[in-house]
C-alpha cells in the first residue's frame, strides 16, 4: 500500500447500542452521504448491551463532518478518532479464515 493512501486512513472507534438495526444506520449514513468506508469490525461489549465498532475510513478532507454526522446517530454513544494502521483488518482476516 502506498504511503499516500496510508496517511489518508482514519480509524473511528464507536460505542453503539446493540440491536439489529444499528449496522443499517451506520452503513446507511456512509452510503447516503458518499463517505468512503473501507472496513468494519464489530464485537459485543458490556454483556451485549452495547457493541464496539471499528470503522476504517478514507479521509478525503471531510473527517470532521463525518464525525459530526456519526455522533448525531441516536444509537451511537461515543466516537473516538484515531490513526488507522492500514493492514490491521487484513492481518485480522488471516486469523479469521474458516
Amino acid at each position: 500500500m502506498s504511503s499516500s493512501i496510508k496517511s489518508a486512513l482514519t480509524m473511528l472507534r464507536l460505542s453503539v447500542n446493540n440491536h439489529p438495526g444499528v449496522m443499517s444506520h451506520i452503513c446507511g449514513l456512509f452510503a447516503g452521504r458518499a463517505y468512503n468506508l473501507e472496513g468494519i469490525l464489530v464485537t459485543p461489549e458490556d454483556d451485549g448491551a452495547t457493541c464496539r465498532m471499528w470503522l476504517v475510513v478514507k479521509d478525503d478532507g471531510r473527517m470532521e463532518q463525518i464525525v459530526k454526522q456519526v455522533s448525531k446517530l441516536h444509537d451511537v454513544l461515543d466516537v473516538h478518532v484515531g490513526q488507522a494502521e492500514p493492514t490491521v483488518f487484513n492481518r485480522l482476516a488471516g486469523c479469521l479464515e474458516c
Binding site: G21, S24, E64, K72, L73
Partner: protein, 558 residues
C-alpha cells in the same frame, strides 16, 4: 399496576404525551391500535384518504404548533406511502411521530402479505426509528420517540409495532414521564466572544435567517437583536415571516427566486451571520461565489450544519434564541447609517416588482388580492412550483408559523393536506392553500378529508394546465423544448371539487372576480377558487441552476 394490551398501552402513552389528534388510515396490521384508539376519549382521529396525505396533515399540525404531529399507518403500502412525508419532515426539521403496524414477528422475513421492511426503508427518511420487539419496550420507545422528535433539531421518528406486540398482554407500573425536548447546552462563551468581536468590527453586517428562527421565541429574539443592533436581514424560503414583511430592516428572500437586492447585499456585506439556516443550494447559488467578501458566523442547533458547506470564521452550535440573547450584551450598537442607507437604496432599486399585481386574474394579482382580504391570522400554505415561488415573493408574511411550505424536499402535493392539518390544529382558523394544477392532482383525494372534517381551508388554484416551473426550465435551458410537462387534456377542477362536496368557483373577468373571491373566502369550511394562468408566464428574477446569485436573469416581457 396496569394490565393492558400493547395497543392499549400505546394509546395510553400517546395520551400521556398530550397527543390530541392523529391523522392516519387503518389496515390489517394496525387494527388493534385503531380498536384501542376508538376506545380512547381523549384523541381525535382524522381519516386521511392516502397515507402521504396523513403524513402532511400531521406536518401541518406540527408546523403551526411546534408540537410533534402523529401519523398512523398500516404495514406494507400504508407504511411506504408515509415515506415522502417523513423525508419532507426530515429536510424541513418538522417533528413527527409515525406509528406503523407490522406483520407479527413470527412472519417477519417471510414475504408475508403487506410485509415491508419499513424499519430499513425509513432509516434515511427519519431522524431515528424503532422496531418494537415486546410490549414492555413501549413506554421507553414512545417517550424516546417524542423526545427525539422535538429535541435539538426537530425531525420525524418512525415506530414500527408488529401485530403480536399490539395484542400481547403487558403489565406496567403506571406511565412514564412524557418524552420532552432535552435542554440545549449553553452556547460556548469563547465562540460567542469571537462572534461579538467580528460583529463589533463590522461596517456592513447582515443576517441570514432560516427555518431555525421560525419559532415565536426565536423570532422574538431575532427582532430584538436586529432592532437593538440595527442590523438588516435577508431570509431563506423557510425564514419568511420571522421578521414582519415591510420591516425597515427586512430585505426579503435571497437565492434562486429571491429579491435581487438580497443577493446583492449578501455580496456587499462584510460580516454575514447565518442563523438557523443550512445554506441550501437554492439559497446560496454557486457556493464559491456566495458572500465572497464577508466574514461568516454560522449559528445552528445542529453541529453538523456548521462547516458542512462553508467553513465559518465562527461556528456556534446553539438554539437560535439562546445564542442571540447571549450575544446581545456582547455586541455594541454602533452607527451604521451609511450601510443602512445602502440597504434602503438597494431595496428601492432592486426590490421585487410584481407583474400585473392589480389584476386579480394574473399569477401575482391573485396572491395580492387574497392577502388584502385575509388577515395575518390566516395560515398560508403552498404546494411546489411557480405559484410557490410567487407566494414566497409577493405574500406579506408577518409572523412566525404563518407560512407552511415544502422547502428542502420540494414535495408537490404538500399544500392541501398541510393546510387541512393547520386549519384543524387551529380549530377553525383559516388556512389558505395556494396551489397549481400539477401539485393539487398529487394529493387531490384529501379534498374528501377536508369536506368530512369541515376544515377551514381555502384552496386557491392557479391553473396553467401543466407543470409550469418545469416548462420554465425547459424553455430557458433546453432550447424551448417542452417535453412531457404540458397536459393535453383539461381537468375541470370546479366540478371535481364540487364532486367532493366543496363549494367551488372559477374567477373570470365577466363575473366580478373580486366579489366572487370575497364571497368564497367568507364561506365557512373548505372551498376551491380557480384562476386560469398562462404556463408561458415565468417566475423572475431567477438564478440559473448552478450559477452564482449575482447572475440573476430577468424576464423578457411577453
Amino acid at each position: 399496576m396496569l394490565r393492558l394490551t400493547g395497543a392499549e398501552l400505546t394509546i395510553r402513552l400517546l395520551e400521556n404525551q398530550g397527543v390530541t389528534c392523529i391523522a392516519g388510515i387503518p389496515g390489517g396490521f394496525n387494527l388493534p391500535l385503531y380498536d384501542a384508539l376508538g376506545r380512547s376519549g381523549a384523541i381525535r382521529h382524522v381519516l386521511a384518504r392516502h397515507e402521504q396525505g396523513a403524513g402532511f396533515i400531521a406536518q401541518g399540525m406540527a408546523r403551526v404548533s411546534g408540537r410533534p404531529g402523529v401519523v398512523f399507518a398500516t404495514s406494507g403500502p400504508g407504511a411506504t406511502n408515509t415515506l415522502t412525508a417523513l423525508a419532507d419532515a426530515r429536510m424541513d426539521s418538522v417533528p413527527l411521530v409515525c406509528i406503523t403496524g407490522q406483520v407479527p414477528q413470527s412472519m417477519i422475513g417471510t414475504d408475508a402479505f403487506q410485509e415491508v421492511d419499513i424499519y430499513g426503508m425509513s432509516i434515511p427518511a427519519t431522524k431515528h426509528n424503532f422496531l418494537v420487539r415486546s410490549p414492555e419496550e413501549l413506554p421507553r420507545v414512545i417517550a424516546e420517540a417524542f423526545s427525539i422528535a422535538v429535541s435539538d433539531r426537530p425531525g420525524p421518528v418512525l415506530v414500527d409495532i408488529p401485530r403480536d406486540v399490539q395484542v400481547a398482554p403487558v403489565e406496567v407500573d403506571g406511565l412514564p414521564e412524557p418524552g420532552r425536548a432535552t435542554p440545549m447546552p449553553t452556547p460556548d462563551s469563547a465562540s460567542l466572544a469571537r462572534a461579538a468581536e467580528l460583529l463589533n468590527a463590522a461596517e456592513r453586517p447582515l443576517l441570514l435567517l432560516g427555518g431555525g428562527t421560525s419559532s415565536p421565541e426565536a423570532a422574538a429574539a431575532v427582532l430584538e437583536f436586529m432592532e437593538q443592533q440595527r442590523i438588516p436581514a435577508v431570509m431563506s424560503l423557510r425564514g419568511l415571516g420571522v421578521v414582519p414583511h415591510g420591516h425597515e430592516l427586512a430585505v426579503g428572500m435571497l437565492g434562486m427566486h429571491g429579491a435581487r437586492a438580497s443577493n446583492m447585499l449578501v455580496e456587499e456585506c462584510d460580516v454575514l451571520m447565518v442563523v438557523g439556516a443550512r445554506l441550501g443550494d437554492r439559497a446560496t447559488g454557486r457556493l464559491d461565489s456566495f458572500c465572497p467578501k464577508s466574514g461568516l458566523i454560522h449559528i445552528d442547533i445542529d453541529a453538523s450544519e456548521v462547516g458542512k458547506l462553508l467553513m465559518p470564521q465562527v461556528g456556534l452550535t446553539a438554539d437560535a434564541s439562546q445564542a442571540l440573547r447571549a450575544l446581545m450584551p456582547l455586541v455594541k450598537p454602533r452607527d451604521r447609517g451609511a450601510w443602512l442607507a445602502r440597504v434602503d437604496a438597494r431595496k428601492a432599486t432592486h426590490g421585487l416588482r410584481f407583474d400585473r399585481e392589480d389584476d386579480i386574474l394574473s399569477p401575482y394579482g391573485i396572491i395580492r388580492h387574497v392577502a388584502k382580504l385575509v388577515g395575518d391570522d390566516a395560515v398560508i400554505a403552498t404546494d411546489v412550483g411557480q405559484h410557490q415561488m410567487r407566494v414566497a415573493q409577493a405574500y406579506p408574511m408577518n409572523r412566525p408559523r404563518q407560512w407552511l411550505t415544502s422547502g428542502g424536499l420540494g414535495t408537490m402535493g404538500f399544500g392541501l393536506p398541510a393546510a387541512i392539518g393547520a386549519a384543524l390544529e387551529r380549530r377553525g382558523g383559516m388556512a389558505v392553500c395556494f396551489t397549481g394544477d400539477g401539485s393539487l392532482l398529487m394529493n387531490i383525494q384529501e379534498m374528501a378529508t377536508a369536506a368530512e372534517t369541515g376544515a377551514n381551508v381555502k384552496i386557491i388554484l392557479c391553473n396553467n394546465n401543466g407543470l409550469g416551473l418545469v416548462q420554465q426550465q425547459q424553455d430557458l435551458f433546453f432550447d424551448g423544448r417542452i417535453t412531457a410537462s404540458a397536459y393535453t387534456t383539461r381537468t375541470d377542477f370546479v366540478q371535481i371539487a364540487q364532486g367532493f362536496g366543496l363549494p367551488a368557483a372559477r374567477l373570470t373577468a365577466g363575473k366580478d372576480p373580486q366579489r366572487v373571491l370575497k364571497e368564497f373566502l367568507g364561506k365557512p369550511g373548505p372551498c376551491l377558487i380557480e384562476v386560469q394562468v398562462r404556463a408561458e408566464d415565468k417566475v423572475f428574477p431567477m438564478v440559473p441552476p448552478g450559477a452564482a446569485n449575482s447572475q440573476m436573469i430577468e424576464g423578457i416581457p411577453s
